[in-house]
Symmetry: C2
């Protein structure tokens, strides 16, 4: 793992890193020290330093004292788009122009991305020297398509916030997730049918899981859910 | 309104009151002053000073600086049981002995209680000198059977936590509720079918409403939802 650049502002250090062809960023309180780590999974079309992700990372660092890491998914951010990514983008344009639903198209692409990103995240945890946690994972939409199989596979992750995702194709992985889960559902989600999201919440094997549903479309998760996720992680990632 | 007795412990004043045949209790920070008021509606078979209700009231007073009030529903606590209450209790015993579902029986009784309690709560607000709020309402199960029609009718109440209740017979009243609502649903509720509770959440006309669903049976709402309700009321009842 190579650290490429470091900047510090308002007490938060931000370090860009690369591990093979994975590009990532690590935020932490200026000064370092052992602390819980939260992984952030960005949404589709976004990247590791998208505005909402950076704002969330800074709050986790400043308010909770966590370290926070994010990486670009393949074809996102600083990573080159491949033929598959271009095909996905063209398929989106076609469907939108034709007024066709894009949900299943997005879900198929996300599933393929997840197969590639899960081992990348695990390699990043190794490279960061994380032996056993506590590690949290936050990611909705594409961030859940990647996060649910990641958390199912990765025992170092001990609490997760997911959401904006449906039962297929995540049900099998969800049934292997046993850590505490907070799950966000948008009541009027235009990409994920309500029943499918409720079925995914139902599928998690976790003894503690809590569903937060709010009115509005896919991208309209209310701001107070950021604070709720901070309390959730603070409850479960205490060192 | 007559105040009957006052005790103070750990900075919380607790005053019992009577208004006609309504018996209630008012908790407030020792010292008084203008502050938001939260009304608590107890569950079926409970009363204004049930253990969970008192613990919640004390946290609202100490952590949030609210005043808190609760009253006994007819046939509960310090109020005499009438013929209808006895008939309900006998019906419960019969159904449980026969292994029959009690949900509809409970819902019918709760609906009748609500018709009597809604005007009682409004009279208590008048007697407490509440001109225009901010007032919050918390009540699940019977507390929602009473609370949903109360909040629909009472403009002084500006935020409410409901839950553990189904679509019938509350749907019409819910469609007249426009204040922010936090709604608790137990995923494995043995009294309220999941689809009916989801339909009630759907029915609220509130622009801001948030559903919190957790695994477990009717009475197993997790403790962290107390803290969540404190943040909800703190957000919405700021003076």
């Amino acid at each position: 793992m190579h650290f490429i650049a470091e900047t510090t502002s308002n007490g938060v250090s931000e370090r860009l890193f690369a591990l093979d062809d994975v590009h990532g960023v690590l935020w932490s309180p200026d000064g370092g020290g052992d602390r819980p780590l939260v992984l952030l999974g960005h949404g589709g079309g976004q990247h590791k330093r998208a505005e909402g992700l950076v704002a969330r990372a800074r709050r986790y660092v400043v308010d909770c004292g966590f370290a926070v890491a994010a990486i670009d998914a393949p074809g996102h951010g600083d990573r080159p788009k491949g033929e598959r990514d271009e095909r996905f983008a063209a398929g989106m344009k076609e469907r939108i122009a034709a007024g066709k639903p894009v949900g299943p198209h997005v879900a198929r692409y996300n599933e393929e991305l997840a197969e590639r990103v899960v081992p990348e995240w695990r390699a990043v945890l190794d490279a960061l020297g994380v032996a056993d946690g506590p590690v949290g994972y936050w990611g909705v939409s594409l961030g859940s398509a990647i996060g649910v199989p990641l958390v199912a596979a990765e025992p170092r992750i001990t609490a997760a916030v997911f959401g904006l995702a449906g039962h297929e194709p995540l049900a099998d992985a969800a049934a292997r997730v046993t850590v505490p889960v907070e799950f966000l559902l948008q009541w009027d989600d235009e990409l994920v049918p309500r029943a499918s999201a409720l079925a995914l919440f139902d599928a998690f094997a976790s003894r503690e899981k809590t569903l937060h549903a709010n009115p509005g479309r896919h991208a309209a998760v209310p701001a107070f859910e950021v604070e709720s996720s901070q309390r959730f992680f603070s409850r479960h990632l205490a060192v």
